[in-house]
Symmetry: C2
Subunit: 205 residues, 2 copies
């Protein structure tokens, strides 16, 4: 099992490599990758070792080869269909974010139970009635669901999505969600992000 923090670093390494590619640089050392990622070159080598052997000691890594491999490992060489559950303030913002499409995640639709929201579109993304979610998942087979419903609606909604066949969920509700082992749930907790800052402000040397 690969730790979440390792996957986060792989995503960060890929972004540095893309930046290097953009600047026409063709090789990068594990030291440079480590420096950019705020980690050590031993950690870089360890992170990559899970996925095969890369680069030659002393010569560094080939930028196009490593970025291609990381894209494959992260599943970015394919296209993912995403649905957003809860077309409220956060859901609507995410539905209209162009940054997802650039990485191969396309938002298929948003869902809501509020009649005033159903039937609208958000920069082309339709807001549909949550009552038809099972029928739509069957028909369109989205792989990822983003949960932007109120906290008390999150667990019942996760259960419903898992029963309908969804195996990956990005949750924004500030609550601990339970899911069967074959389902991956990641929670973004914005308040916890701010706690990282209050920690730094409180523990400044």
């Amino acid at each position: 099992h690969i730790a979440d923090s390792t996957v986060r670093r792989l995503s960060a390494y890929l972004r540095f490599l893309e930046d290097f590619e953009h600047r026409g640089l063709t090789t990068i050392s594990s030291d440079e990758l480590a420096k950019q990622g705020g980690t050590t070159s031993a950690q870089v080598r360890k992170d990559l070792s899970f996925f095969g052997s890369f680069g030659k000691r002393g010569l560094g890594y080939s930028v196009p080869e490593l970025s291609g491999r990381l894209r494959e490992i992260l599943g970015l060489s394919q296209h993912w269909r995403v649905i957003i559950i809860g077309a409220g303030k956060i859901g609507a913002a995410l539905a209209q974010y162009r940054g997802f499409r650039q990485r191969g995640f396309s938002i298929v639709a948003a869902y809501d139970n509020n009649p005033e929201k159903i039937g609208r579109t958000l920069e082309g993304i339709p807001v549909r009635d949550i009552a038809q979610i099972e029928h739509d998942i069957q028909r369109e087979a989205p792989e990822i669901a983003v949960l932007t419903v109120p906290a008390e609606a999150a667990q019942p909604m996760l259960d419903r999505l898992v029963r309908a066949g969804i195996h990956a969920i990005l949750n924004f509700a500030p609550t601990q969600l339970q899911a069967p082992p074959e389902v991956t749930v990641k929670t973004v907790n914005m308040a916890m992000e701010l706690e990282g800052l209050s920690f730094a402000l409180t523990n400044r040397e």
Copy 2:
């Protein structure tokens, strides 16, 4: 220096402890904390050891005492003033989020450079002209700024905020920001969160 992943775990332990407190449980073992946090009891003891000695081996930790200490360590026993820069889709959603106030983070104001947005209020939070930001920081001394401007505006805005005296920034723009050592910058990259899911879907056993 304490790693980001350690601080994230402290925030997660605090939430479990609050849940235990809520249920009237008065002691918790490092095993239980570890299980909840998806880590090991050795890691729990190591994380806490940076901040002094807690609990007695074999007896576990006192829930109220440890949660009180963690609140202090994370800086949650005081009140933080937050400003939001960029009152667009994400900025407006964050300005109206009640979850921040509950953890002691209060949104003072949002700022924008679009005349159509300046002068509005977002559930009581005023949208002010970015031109007056230095004057307001001087007068109201917010400690934290949230950056929800387009990517190309993010670095110039960070520089401006640092010059005006801000030392902690939560960034949503998908770009690597440079800041002096005494300034803490945390970036929430939503696309990277989805990459954690595409990784799991691609590497399923």
